[in-house]
Symmetry: none
Subunit: 212 residues, 4 copies
């Protein structure tokens, strides 16, 4: 397991003033931009600040170091996706399995698709920093939400175990990543949506009605 230096990773101050919020937003957005146009290797705090239209000094007023900046951006995105999944799970309670799966999968993909650029940008360093940890944490949220809805499905007797759900979520994420990295035309995203629905539905059914 990597023994990386421990660095402060929480944002330095929560913006209370409107101006500050704008600045933080600009920095956040600039980070994505730089990530996409220059790549992680070439992402420097100066470059981000420039693109955001502020000085480096200002950037450091809001983020104690570079890692915390990347961390915040990644965290934001993952939170948004997890929230979308949670909301969908909430709304899909008590629906039949097929419908339920369709709703949650579509919500997941919709959240990812809203800003495909962000997803792609983040893949570049999600494996770094506190990346895996964050991904895991957010993965847990999704898993719990899935577990909860699945309990309410009228047409299945026993819900799949945690491990199976984790695998399913990871499988979805993997397929989505693949398509996004391949270029992700809207048509492909639609295709992906249908296939993911089928994948999850069939997998869950197979889980519940073991192989014969």
């Amino acid at each position: 397991m990597p023994a990386r230096a421990i660095t402060q990773i929480q944002p330095r101050k929560t913006p209370v003033q409107a101006r500050a919020a704008v600045t933080v937003g600009a920095i956040s957005e600039a980070t994505i931009q730089v990530l996409l146009s220059d790549g992680v290797e070439r992402l420097t705090t100066t470059r981000v600040a420039e693109r955001a239209g502020v000085s480096v000094g200002t950037l450091y007023q809001y983020y104690p170091n570079k890692q915390s900046l990347l961390f915040a951006v990644l965290s934001d995105h993952l939170d948004k996706v997890a929230s979308a999944v949670e909301l969908a799970c909430e709304q899909a309670r008590h629906k039949p399995l097929a419908e339920m799966v369709r709703m949650v999968v579509e919500a997941f993909l919709a959240a990812k698709s809203e800003r495909t650029d962000i997803s792609q940008a983040l893949y570049q360093f999600a494996a770094d920093v506190g990346g895996p940890a964050l991904v895991k944490r957010v993965g847990q949220r999704s898993r719990k939400a899935w577990e909860a809805v699945l309990q309410t499905a009228p047409d299945i007797e026993v819900a799949p175990d945690k491990f199976a759900i984790e695998i399913m979520i990871a499988a979805m994420a993997g397929a989505t990543r693949h398509v996004l990295e391949a270029g992700a035309s809207p048509a492909m995203m639609r295709g992906l949506r249908q296939h993911l629905v089928v994948l999850c539905q069939s997998y869950l059914r197979a889980q519940l009605a073991p192989s014969r």
Copy 2:
């Protein structure tokens, strides 16, 4: 599309003497080691050379730059996995679908498991370098192999289309990655194996007999 600097990425010289081959092997292995113990961010050519027990200069005799080193290591690994999949596909020809899928999936996982450390190490930068391109290329090899075996399955009429197979492969990769990044005990790997088999079998069947 990222506009990263173009760098030469091919190894500089192929070792002809025995001593040189040893050196190259040591450097390759040291790269994995450093990746695992220090992380990509902290992987420096000097550190790799040190760990390999050679001088930096020697490293640069075989790799024109840092990226080419990482690229070579990644490439090696992916090639190994792709070959394992191809071999399994060869051997699984004309078996019934369930058996076929089990064989190939198990071969894939076995290849990944042989050096779980390498797999984990590589996730850290697979998104960088020529990473996605390489992954894509190797993905194609796997997809073609899958396509070919599936044509020979006696118990299905029409083989799934390319896109479906790609999705399946990416899903497998995603799930595998998740488990590896979570710590990957042998028990988990066994669980993963069973689940992946189910996942693929059910997905392929669902593809062929659309749900309505």
Copy 3:
């Protein structure tokens, strides 16, 4: 024709604050110093920064690379000399040839002599970098100035052609360089001055009244 790597050669930022201007001046001066005490071969950016009393980082804020630093110093010097020649030409208009030549030659030498150390330092790499190109460009300025004055000399009928003037300028530069590299005592510089005046005067006359 040499196929050297193309490098950015323009200074990176123009100093706007007083402090920055001082810094740039110090770096420029330090470059000369190092050139003289250590030679081109041993001129390193670190050494220049040290001698200038700043950090390497600061040096690189003003010059994108080592070549641009050398280029800037060379350019400065050549511009100064060219300006001196132009000014002298301006002032020598309509004087008799002998007087005219004396004035311009003396102005040239005075400019070179003001900082003989700089002249000597620069010979070391004038052939490198954009050296020859720069020298050519500045040479053109001098040649045009000479051409212009010579047109106004009352005691000659037709002014010498461009090529002849270029040769004359290059001859002067060569002789000056020789003396500077030989050690250049004030006495020698005076001797040089007289000889250069004679050289140019006689050459120009010979040009105009071809020996047969």
Copy 4:
């Protein structure tokens, strides 16, 4: 005055065997080639050896270090030119001044022109290494030869002093360098020849019959 490290600068062994002579010749030639195609900055011993078709090790059998290699090449060239001048001076004894000057100047230029590429290549580092010292030494040889012939000219009473001759030689060298660096078409070289003859003739006459 530069305080450069003192390094052994004499070739390591004088080639007595024919094969060795060929090797040395190849290395020498390769040095020029690399100088022209890559520039001094990029001239490395490995590159020279490669171009010469030998291994670095072999190069180091004949030259103790890089400087000695450059030094030898420069020395060779300068010696050749000096010898040509000396020979011409020998043959021009007792000729009238105009004829004498023409002969020597033409011999000088012919020697330089034989391999204009070499001259150009060498300008790049003649100011380095033991460059100026060598140039000075060879300059002395030329000056002495000129002094000697001029003593024999039937149509002048007192020969010009050493300083004047040095200036003349340096002026010739400067003009020649200028033309070579400008591209040196055969036509230009012819023009240069005529102008140099005029330059030297008129200068010498002016020296002898002072300003009126």
